[in-house]
Amino acid sequence: MSEAETPLLEVRNLQTHFFTELGVVPSVNGVSFSVKKGETIGIVGESGCGKSVTSLSLLQLISDPGKIVGGEILFNGEDLTRLSNKQMRKIRGNKISMIFQEPLTSLNPVFTIGSQISEAIRLHQNVNKEEAKEKAIVMLKKVGIPRAEKHYYSFPHLLSGGMRQRVMIAIALSCNPQLLIADEPTTALDVTIQAQILLLMKQLSTEYQTSIIIITHDLGLVAEMADRVVVMYAGQIVEQNNVYELFKNPKHPYTKGLLNSIPKIHQLKDQLESIEGNVPIPSQLPAGCKFHPRCAAALEKCRFQDPPLFQAKQGAEVRCWLHQEEVIGV
């Protein structure tokens, strides 16, 4: 593999389990994907599918009773799972940043937003207080906060939800990270504000060539933002492809089901097909294919044998026995 093709991030067979009193919960169970420089990856799935645990694992933010029990996370060729806490702290917020769903709880209410941005800058860059402040104000302007000099001294509660999320983005991008992980960044916001924030993220990623992992349950958001899509179900990747192919030729019955269950506002007539049953509880996963109890196309085999990830047509990777014939080589 040549230098140019080396991905920025490569996750190999990541396994994060939670050791609870009721038994071991395999929240992330063998997840592999990679992110190239400047690329935006969308990880989609419903609650409990392991998408957030995946993102927290990347930053080594899993706490007891959870533990990364296997796999590698290669960032610029370096395995993050082997780093010490101290070494990780140099990467977090610096080379890899994260924005969370709820911008009110992720900002400290007793510090001004300016001091919170400056803190991140001074922690990772060799600058003095004044320079940090200047940089922070530049960042606030960049994310579209009006009267940035004044708002530098504002406390988080004075800002609206959309403005707070802009501050979070300013903090996340203040150290020019190579990778930005956005976990449901707009779920708590109104749609009109969501559109603004997404546009901002797009512009900034183009400007800085930042790679983005966007984690969401909203397929619309993925269609809008991502270059490649990873669909997760019950702790595993069930389908992975580039965004155009995935939406044009969805292969896994779960992906198809998800697409059919969103109301389409750009079509006048539409009929919603729902996926029967419920999302399984991670501690009570079925045998065989994890999706088979809800799958209309399930075969006898699906009840006993967990399918591997097959290489299918149109560049897709699909975890489904129905696509077994399309194997090009595993």
Partner: protein
């Protein structure tokens, strides 16, 4: 106003609200002697025909939920009139209201907090029937099994507690409870917002199915345009306590007239990556007016991409611009 007058004689009209206002006092000044009000709902005129679904859509804080709660008199209206089946229920006593609440039921957003965690499914669904002395003993039991079946719950679940169910199943319990008294109108306040995507479709389809089966009328309140579009016959768009546009679903989407509606629709991310470069999007700015000190002109002025001087000075009237399509905008978008 023309709209409501027209329906006055219409026998199909199940519920009508006129000039509905709900102001919340904001404690301020010495000893909290408040002079300021938050105008959550500020002069709303709407009607709902028998058997239809009226969708109410808008962003958080637009007054859509307050409208729903005021109709049921869970909140006392500050001003205005609520007429249900031709009867003015605005000043009805609590006892009188209890009879009306048999006919108007509600399904709430959060299926986690709207079900009593200490009650079993049986008692949750039985509660309205017991309160209104509609059934007891064997009859009550049969009735509950029947309701559970109607909403797609297995009757073996009857002794379970809410925490043993997933979000979608809990919402089914909430719907069964709402159906128990055979209501005429169900107000659904964000019934699918807290649910997973694959479960949302199940619940929306269940609501449609039940509507057909029992000839129900719905008011469907939500912030998400897609769900509202899927389920509604007519849609009212609310902004800052007022209805700014109201039309039949197809009319509203094919001839969107208010810039706010247009912005709301185009902000929804479409599940089709080939449309991501669409250039006809209207992006709304984030500049909300102060809700306790609303501008004298159009309330949407500060965010409107098409604002003109007149909009700042003069409040637009709610007027019928196309047939059965009302909008409050000085310069509606004409396609």
């Amino acid at each position: 106003m023309t709209m409501t007058n027209e329906t006055e004689t219409n026998h199909d009209c199940l519920l009508r609200i006129e000039g509905l206002k709900k102001y919340f006092p904001i404690p301020s000044g010495l000893f909290g002697k408040s002079k300021q009000f938050l105008k959550a709902v500020d002069g709303v005129d709407l009607f709902v025909k028998k058997g239809e679904t009226l969708g109410i859509v808008g962003e958080s804080g637009c007054g859509k939920s307050t409208t729903g709660n005021t109709i049921l008199r869970l909140l006392e209206p500050t001003e205005g009139k609520i007429v249900f089946e031709g009867k003015d229920i605005t000043r009805l006593s609590e006892r009188g209201m209890q009879k009306i609440r048999k006919d108007i039921q509600m399904v709430f957003q959060d299926p986690f907090s709207s079900l009593n965690p200490r009650m079993r499914v049986f008692d949750i669904i039985a509660e309205p029937l017991r309160t209104h002395k509609a059934a007891k003993g064997r009859v009550l039991e049969e009735k509950i099994f029947e309701l559970m079946e109607t909403v797609g719950l297995d009757r073996s679940f009857v002794r379970r507690y809410p925490h043993e169910f997933s979000g979608g199943q809990r919402q089914r319990i909430g719907i069964a409870r709402a159906l128990a008294l055979k209501p005429k109108l169900i107000i659904c306040d964000e019934p699918v917002s807290a649910l997973d995507v694959s479960i949302q479709a199940q619940i929306l389809n269940l609501l449609l199915e039940l509507q057909k089966k029992f000839n129900l009328t719905y008011i469907f309140i939500a912030h998400g345009i897609p769900a509202v579009k899927y389920i509604s016959d007519r849609i009212a768009v609310m902004y800052m306590g007022e209805v700014v546009e109201l039309a039949g679903k197809e009319e509203l989407f094919s001839h969107t007239m208010h810039p706010y509606t247009s912005g709301l629709i185009s902000a929804v991310p479409l599940p089709d990556p080939t449309l991501r470069e669409r250039n006809n999007r209207i992006l709304l700015e984030e500049d909300f007016p102060d809700q306790t000190n609303l501008p004298k002109g159009c309330r949407f002025y500060s965010r409107c991409p098409f604002r003109k001087d007149k909009c700042k000075e003069e409040k637009p009237l709610f007027r019928e611009v196309r047939k059965e399509h009302v909008v409050s905008c000085h310069y509606p978008i004409i396609q």
